[in-house]
Each structure stands twice: as structure tokens, then as C-alpha cells.
């Protein structure tokens, strides 16, 4: 009899422990691997321990494979089982989730406070129209910039500190800094282009050219619905032709070097345009001897305005979450002004709060100062719910153009048709 009593007591204790651990647990999903250095934060020991103590809860951090993360999120939301409370995702995914009405809106008061406290670019990336927020952008502006190998510039007789000032010079630098073997095969490209993989990725690394040529993805970037494709014009065609010319006319680049960042780090490319944060994080480990420069991508003409993309990672809360209030509390806590400053100091990243930009050592860090000069020209992605379809259409067109499968006019005409269809369907 006493064995039964002890057993029952143990069972009760076990049930209580399970119940206690289940109560007040919020789950945060983030992408694993090296897909973004901004996720390094979640490897910190006791990242949320103060929050957990203050709120008598547990924050469970779950790494997901980036390549399947969207599908896993979708499956969890559709089934209603194991729904994460917080998602740390690429901002370009947000329109797709908004289209499915899957995301919770940030509480109005919190949104107002945030938008007033942060810098203009973060504000623009956060605002989905009339002060409505669905996501909090992470610190560390993921700005696309031109990065170049200073030694290769010097080798070609160019000033290693000065980037090309316009597209003409960009092409010229590409020719001068590329290298060929005896058989005429390119062994080092002047400028490495991204042309493989998901069409979205191709567009990410092309937007600087599209924008500086006066074109865009959609006509009204802030609107969630409506508008139409804005890339099938003289600007869009000239941007696509720029890269085409570098491949087939100048022969200073090639389709055989499809990973621009890796090519720069491995010495296979003299220039590339993509996330500066990635080079900043990877270079000390993968290419410690690389001397590299960073600047805005070149404008179309000298003196005209340059533009580039700002693609933050964001925190969102799904509508299907069972702990929305606690989830928003945790997001606010991890994105507070003090935390912003603390993490930016630790990881050498750009802050979001206006005040933190002026605090040392952030105010005088060379990398952060360089990014600060670039940030005014950075644009977030459009909010349009049909963005996925637009980027898919344009990305596929660019691949066809650069692979010589189609003329620029035909490819962009077709892409415009598909993009407008996606916008129209998303608006319904």
C-alpha cells in the first residue's frame, strides 16, 4: 500500500512540474546556420533570463533551418499545433503572411512609441501605413553596399580607397580588375553577380541598380494593396542591360561565379554588391587578410542619387499564438533602448533608436559611421501583399536575360504581366 502512495505522490509532483513548466512559456523561432549574423544573438546564454524572472515565464528559443522555415511556420499556423509565439523572420516574408492574415498587429500605443523613438529608416521599415506596425525590425541595418578588394584595385592601377562613381566607371573598373587565364577563361570577375537560386535572391542584389535607374518594384511601395509593376520601363531595362553588358560585352564577369559574397572573400571577385553586414561578420574569419572597402553602390550617372536596399530581420507575432500579450512584452523588452545599445556595442551593429546613434562607441566606430552615411539612401521593400509574386516574376526575368534565354524587352514584358497578376490576386 505504501508503495502505491509513494508512486501516486511522485506522479502528482511530476504533473505539477509539467504544468508549471508549461505555464507562461513562449516560443521564439529563429533561423539557424549562417543565413544571418543577426541571429547570433539567440545563442547567448541566458538571453531572456531577466525577462523570465520578472514575468515568471520561460522563453524557449528554437532554431529552424532557414530553407524550410517558411513552410514550417505555415504548417504550424495551419494546423494550430506547436504554434510559435514569436517569429524572427526576413522582412520580405511579411507581405506573404499578411496576405494570409496570419500576423498580429503591434498594439497601437507601442507602435506610436516605437515610431517616435527610432531613426527615419527604421521608422519607414516599421510603418505599414498610417502608423500601423506588424513587426519590429532588428538592430543591425542590413544594408546592401558595394564592397571591393583594395589590393585588386591597387593592382589594376586604381585608387584602392575610391569606389566607382557611376555605372560607366563601374563597368570600367570591372574590366580592369578582372583576370583571365591563357585560354581566355575568366579566373577572377570584376563584379560577381547573383543569378542562381530563388528569384527573390536575384532581385535583392539587383534593386540598387533598378532604383538608381529610376525604376521600382511597384508604383506605391507603402500600399498593401493595389498599384502595379514599375520595372518595365527605360530605367528597368537599362539596369538589366548593365549586368548583361558586363557579362557579354565587357566579359568582365561570368555566370560561373554565382555566390558574390563568397567570391569576394575567396579572392575570386574584385567587387560585389550585397549585405555589408555579412562581409563585416565573415571577413575576420574567412578572409582575415582581405583589405576591403565599402560604399554605396554606384549611381547611374555621376551626381545622381544612389539607392540601395535595407532588409531588416523582424520580430512578429502570429495571430494563432496562445500567448500574444507575453510575446509582445518579450519583443518590447529585447528591443528596448538599453538592449539596443548593449547589443550594438557587443556585435558592432547599427542601432535603431535616434539617441543610441549618438552614444559612444557607436558614434565613432568606422563601420557604423560608414553605414550611417549610407542609411539615408536605403529603402525597405514595398509593403504590397503581392510582393512575393512581383519578385518572383522579376527575378525569373533577370535570370532569363542574363542567361541569354530572352531579350530584355520580352522578359520584362512577361514579368510585368505576371507581377500585375500577382498584385491583382493579392488585392482580392
Amino acid at each position: 500500500m505504501w508503495k502505491f502512495k509513494i508512486g501516486f505522490a511522485c506522479f502528482l509532483v511530476l504533473m505539477l512540474v509539467v504544468a508549471a513548466s508549461a505555464a507562461g512559456t513562449i516560443v521564439l523561432w529563429y533561423p539557424s546556420g549562417e543565413i544571418t549574423s543577426l541571429a547570433l544573438l539567440f545563442h547567448e546564454e541566458g538571453l531572456f533570463s531577466d525577462f523570465e524572472m520578472e514575468n515568471d515565464c520561460k522563453v524557449e528559443l528554437v532554431a529552424q533551418d532557414y530553407d524550410f522555415m517558411q513552410q514550417k511556420i505555415f504548417t504550424a499556423l495551419a494546423s494550430g499545433k506547436n504554434v510559435p509565439d514569436i517569429l524572427f523572420i526576413d522582412q520580405s516574408w511579411v507581405p506573404g503572411f499578411l496576405k494570409e492574415e496570419a500576423l498580429e498587429q503591434v498594439p497601437e500605443a507601442d507602435a506610436k512609441d516605437w515610431l517616435e523613438a527610432v531613426d527615419p529608416v527604421t521608422r519607414e521599415a516599421s510603418d505599414y501605413g498610417e502608423g500601423v506596425m506588424y513587426a519590429y525590425p532588428q538592430y543591425g541595418a542590413d544594408i546592401y553596399g558595394l564592397t571591393w578588394n583594395k589590393d585588386y584595385f591597387a593592382e589594376a592601377g586604381l585608387d584602392p580607397e575610391i569606389p566607382p562613381k557611376d555605372w560607366e566607371e563601374f563597368r570600367d573598373y570591372g574590366i580592369k580588375t578582372s583576370k583571365k587565364d591563357e585560354a581566355g577563361n575568366i579566373t577572377r570577375v570584376g563584379y560577381a553577380i547573383r543569378h542562381l537560386g530563388q528569384p527573390h535572391g536575384v532581385v535583392h542584389k539587383f534593386l540598387w541598380a533598378l532604383w538608381s535607374a529610376g525604376a521600382d518594384l511597384v508604383t506605391d511601395p507603402k500600399a498593401l494593396r493595389g498599384g502595379e509593376a514599375a520595372f518595365n520601363n527605360e530605367g528597368g531595362r537599362s539596369a538589366a542591360k548593365l549586368v548583361w553588358d558586363m557579362i557579354y560585352t565587357d566579359k568582365s564577369t561570368s555566370l560561373d561565379f554565382p555566390d558574390p559574397r563568397t567570391c569576394l572573400l575567396q579572392g575570386l571577385a574584385s567587387m560585389q554588391i550585397s549585405e555589408t553586414i555579412s562581409i563585416q561578420t565573415r571577413q575576420p574569419v574567412e578572409a582575415p587578410n582581405l583589405k576591403w572597402g565599402m560604399s554605396m553602390p554606384p549611381p547611374k550617372e555621376e551626381g545622381s542619387e544612389s539607392a540601395t536596399n535595407y532588409n531588416p530581420w523582424v520580430y512578429v507575432v502570429p495571430k494563432a499564438s496562445q500567448n500574444k500579450e507575453l510575446a509582445w512584452k518579450a519583443i518590447k523588452w529585447i528591443n528596448s533602448k538599453e538592449k539596443d545599445y548593449q547589443f550594438c556595442m557587443k556585435y558592432r551593429m547599427t542601432p535603431r533608436y535616434k539617441e543610441n546613434w549618438e552614444r559612444e562607441p557607436l558614434a565613432s566606430d568606422p563601420y557604423i559611421v560608414a553605414l550611417r552615411a549610407m542609411i539615408p539612401y536605403a529603402r525597405p521593400y514595398p509593403n504590397n501583399l503581392g510582393l512575393n509574386g512581383v519578385m518572383e516574376a522579376l527575378g525569373s526575368a533577370l535570370q532569363k536575360i542574363w542567361h541569354n534565354e530572352s531579350s530584355i524587352e520580352d522578359a520584362l514584358n512577361e514579368a510585368e504581366r505576371l507581377a500585375n497578376k500577382a498584385i491583382e490576386e493579392a488585392a482580392q
Binding site: 517558411q70 513552410q71 505555415f74 499556423l77 495551419a78 506573404g96 494570409e100 492574415e101 496570419a102 585560354a183 577563361n185 543569378h195 542562381l196 537560386g197 530563388q198 555566370l255 560561373d256 561565379f257 554565382p258 575570386l268 512575393n388 509574386g389 525569373s396 535570370q399 532569363k400 542567361h403 534565354e405 512577361e414
Partner: protein
């Protein structure tokens, strides 16, 4: 009371007579039940979804009739994937079958190394497709890959392989042939061993050479095995996904996209479940049609000596 006893007696008698049958059905019941739950029911559900606009996150299902099917014929990417799948199927099935048969015929000869070669050819079949595709991705790398390095030794220009719209699909086909040929060999070897030696002896006496024997004896008598290989490989080929996903992701510029990959992208990246279901229905119909055709054709060619 008596009537009840008579009924009971009749029931017991029926049960005793059919005891073996009932026992047999009970044994296969778990398999049948799991087949119904995990295969039949989802297939029927997918077929039904193809007539609806399915928005799972919004919990909305709207009847659209044949709209999804009609939209498919205007979807350029679906048509490209359909064409690529047919091309992939044709090349992969034919070449892997021919290679399998030739190698199996060579392995029929008695040799101490037969087992070793069988193991070597069969091992790709049992390795994980994803893992081996990742290795081949590196083999195909234009700068660092082994294939281009070997070509360089023979002064052949480096090839873009997976980076080229013209070569990407063929590169995947080559991988797939390497992966499946071992299985074909093993099945063909079993088929060849089942052919009685007496036919070859009779042919030898009649003055037939090895090539004549092959075309007049081996090939006809191997028809059931060949039919099985063709049907099995065709079904596999239509369902290709893993290696395409890993090696190229369907690119560049949709040059290597296939139907199952397109279904996956429509369903899980664009959340268009109804549309993806319609594609699945088309794929199923194609596989069924080709399988039936192959079966009918192979029956006609079958011989008995």
C-alpha cells in the same frame, strides 16, 4: 429457442468454414488500414482540393470548379515543368535501362570480382539522395569541381554545368542515372539468371553468335523484367524532386524545374493548395497513363519458348 440454436449452429459452421479467410484478412488489415489512412484518404482529399480554392491559414475553402485546371494551361512555368519532367523521364529511363541491361549482361559472366562490382554499382542506390546530391553539387562546381578539373587535364573547356540553362537538366539526369543504374543491374541480373541455359546451348548448336543470342533469346525472355524496370523507373522519374531541389532548386531561370518541385512551391511557398492539388491530379494522371501504356506494350512483346 430451437430456432436460435439452429441459427447459432449455422453461424458457428460458417465461421469455422471461413476461419482461414478471416484470419488472412486480419493479418493484412493493419496494412490495408494504414494504406487507406496514409495513402488513399490523402489522395482523395488532394483530388477534391483541386476543385477548390484552399486557404488553409484563413480556414476557407471555396468551390471553383475547373478553374484551377484551366489556369494550369496558361501557366508558363507549369508548362515548362511539364516539358522538363517528360524530357527527364525519357532520358533517364531509357539510358539507365540500357546501361543497366548492358552492365548486367557483362556481370553475368563468371568472375571473382562480380560481387565487388555489384556492390559498387548498387551502393549509389542505397545512399541518401540528398547527401549524394550535395556531393555532386560540389563535383559540378565550375571553379573547384572534380569534373571540370578532369576536363582541364584533357584540355576540354570548363563547363558551367548547374549554372547553365542548357546543361542544368542534363546534369541532373546524369546524377539520376548514376543513382538508379545499380538497382536496374541487380534486377536485370536476377532476370538473366532465370533464363534457362538450355536456350543458349540450343542457339550455340544452331550457330548463333553472342549478339544474335542476345537479341533473339535474352531480350525477349527478359521482357517482363524490362517492363518492370521501365515502369518502376518511369514512376520514379515523374516523381523526381530531391536531387532537383538540392542541385539547382529548379533554376537557373526554371531551366530544370520539374512538376513535383512546382507543386511544392505552389503549395508551400505560395500557399495555393487548390492549384497545387490540380497539378498533383495532372501528375497522377500522367503517371497512370504512361504506366498503363508501358504495361500493355510490354505484354505484347512478351514471348514464351
Amino acid at each position: 429457442m430451437i430456432a436460435f440454436s439452429v441459427l447459432e449452429f449455422k453461424l458457428r459452421k460458417t465461421f469455422a468454414r471461413h476461419k482461414a479467410t478471416i484470419r488472412a484478412y486480419l493479418f493484412i488489415a493493419p496494412l490495408v488500414i494504414s494504406f487507406v489512412i496514409f495513402r488513399l484518404y490523402p489522395s482523395l482529399q488532394t483530388l477534391s482540393y483541386s476543385f477548390f480554392n484552399v486557404e488553409l491559414l484563413k480556414q476557407k475553402i471555396t468551390w471553383v470548379g475547373l478553374k484551377n485546371f484551366l489556369a494550369l494551361w496558361e501557366d508558363e512555368i507549369f508548362l515548362i515543368s511539364f516539358k522538363n519532367t517528360l524530357k527527364y523521364c525519357l532520358y533517364m529511363v531509357l539510358i539507365s535501362t540500357i546501361f543497366g541491361l548492358v552492365l548486367a549482361t557483362l556481370l553475368k559472366a563468371q568472375s571473382k570480382l562480380n560481387s565487388f562490382f555489384k556492390a559498387v554499382y548498387f551502393s549509389p542506390y542505397i545512399t541518401s539522395t540528398v547527401a549524394s546530391a550535395m556531393v555532386w553539387w560540389w563535383l559540378y562546381n565550375p571553379q573547384f569541381g572534380l569534373f571540370n578539373a578532369i576536363m582541364k587535364l584533357f584540355h576540354i573547356p570548363s563547363q558551367p554545368w548547374l549554372n547553365s540553362t542548357k546543361q542544368a537538366l542534363m546534369a541532373i539526369i546524369i546524377f539520376s542515372i548514376w543513382k538508379i543504374v545499380g538497382y536496374n543491374i541487380i534486377v536485370f541480373v536476377a532476370g538473366l539468371q532465370a533464363i534457362p541455359k538450355v536456350y543458349y546451348e540450343a542457339a550455340l548448336i544452331d550457330g548463333a553468335g553472342p549478339i544474335t543470342s542476345f537479341f533473339r533469346i535474352t531480350l525477349p525472355l527478359l521482357m517482363p523484367t524490362t517492363a518492370f524496370i521501365l515502369i518502376y523507373n518511369t514512376i520514379l522519374a515523374f516523381q523526381v524532386f530531391d536531387q532537383v531541389f538540392v542541385l539547382t532548386g529548379g533554376g537557373p531561370a526554371h531551366a530544370s524545374t520539374v512538376m513535383v518541385l512546382e507543386i511544392y512551391q505552389q503549395a508551400f511557398l505560395k500557399y495555393r493548395f487548390g492549384y497545387a492539388s490540380a497539378m498533383s491530379a495532372i501528375l497522377f494522371s500522367c503517371i497512370l497513363l504512361v504506366t498503363i501504356l508501358q504495361y500493355i506494350l510490354s505484354e505484347r512483346k512478351e514471348v514464351v519458348y
